[in-house]
Symmetry: C2
Subunit: 243 residues, 2 copies
């Protein structure tokens, strides 16, 4: 239906893929809007992995590799966009993969777990309990999963859940295209990059980094610097449009 | 389901309203993502009508009031978010209101026309023909509606349709939160504001402006200046986050 000569063909096709996942119930309808927000910020960083994002991705790899119990928390949008990339990263860093939803139903969780398993991920699906101090469905997680993790990668997370995980003493790695969001500012490390670009970069770094490089990266995490770099990329692109 | 203590309660509730309209078929699923893009840019202008947007809205009122045959072109998102505001503007400037969809089905058109009529709009729904030089469904419009208009207000338009209307010699007024978009750069006048804030401002200006004020505003349309002002608002807000 979307003509290939449309200038935003690729972006419209991705939206259509998400819409198909929304019809199946994998992506929540509100998740489609959240994706659009990300698209806008991605546009402002030039729809590419910036040098700052690359540093954040290598640092994320170092944190995952040196963790005692790393967990990757997956929501509907992440599964719809990047199930295969999640499986690849899990293989590279041996993290637990756990599904956690804002708009939570048992049926959605089962469908998303099936999608991830179909893509090759080993999904942890023990019994969920209301363990986080939050008023909505994201309070739910699993005692032997996220609740006992030391490092949690949360692509496309919402802000107060990110804050709750940090308050529990966890190192939280967020993937968030909005450098001004509460998630971005609250996380221990924020990757300002599109999720299907970010995850393969983390996976590559997991395969390349030496122990010494990991130590150096972990010792020098500076999220304020990374967010500043992302903001500078965006303002540069905006100001360039004035020329 | 969304707890009122969630910091983005209002934004999430609007998304939910759009999701309900998507379930009914009024909003296309891709339209939910497009809304998200707008949300991100709205965030960057501080979710308020900027002075530049106010000038654009007064100029839009002047263009509509002095038009020979003004038409307001409505899509699913505009109808879902602002049916009542459309009816109010139509009353103030006596424009034709016509539904035109990117994802076009007869059933969607009928539902959107019903929604607008229910909100008090007088909807023009003559027979549509493929009159615009475009490869997709937005080529369709009505000979006595948009096709013969001299001034067309297109809230939330897609870029190449905007270009086709300008190429036909029409004065096109766009409402678009992204000042870098093709729509924003192609339109004769771009209002960088959220549609439910923009339309009532145009309506108020229609009621206030004198004939002389209209002439002055129409004679001094400078879309490059208006877009520059919007970009400056966004960079200022981004750079403020670095402090």
């Amino acid at each position: 239906m979307i003509p290939p000569d449309h200038p935003r063909y690729r972006s419209l096709m991705t939206r259509e893929r998400l819409a198909i996942c929304a019809k199946k119930g994998i992506v929540s309808w509100e998740g489609l809007t959240a994706h659009g927000r990300g698209e806008a910020f991605d546009y402002l960083i030039g729809e590419r992995t910036t040098p700052g994002a690359m540093l954040a991705e290598r640092t994320a790899a170092a944190l995952l590799l040196t963790a005692r119990h790393p967990v990757i928390s997956i929501n509907g949008n992440t599964a719809a966009l990047a199930a295969r990339e999640i499986a690849g990263l899990q293989e590279a860093c041996r993290a637990t993969v756990e599904v956690n939803l804002f708009h939570r139903t048992e049926e959605r969780i089962r469908m998303i777990e099936d999608l991830l398993r179909h893509a090759g991920a080993d999904v942890f699906s023990g019994e969920a309990e209301r363990l986080l101090p939050l008023s909505h469905d994201r309070a739910w997680c699993r005692r032997d999963g996220i609740f006992s993790a030391d490092v949690v990668l949360v692509p496309l997370e919402d802000g107060d859940r990110c804050g709750a995980l940090v308050a529990l003493g966890k190192t939280v790695i967020a993937v968030d295209l909005n450098p001004l969001s509460r998630t971005a500012r609250t996380a221990s490390l924020t990757i300002v990059d599109e999720v299907t670009r970010a995850l393969p970069q983390i996976t590559s770094a997991c395969k390349e980094l030496s122990g010494t490089e990991c130590e150096t990266l972990v010792a020098s995490v500076d999220n304020d610097y990374l967010l500043s770099e992302a903001i500078r990329e965006m303002t540069t692109r905006l100001l360039h449009a004035l020329d």
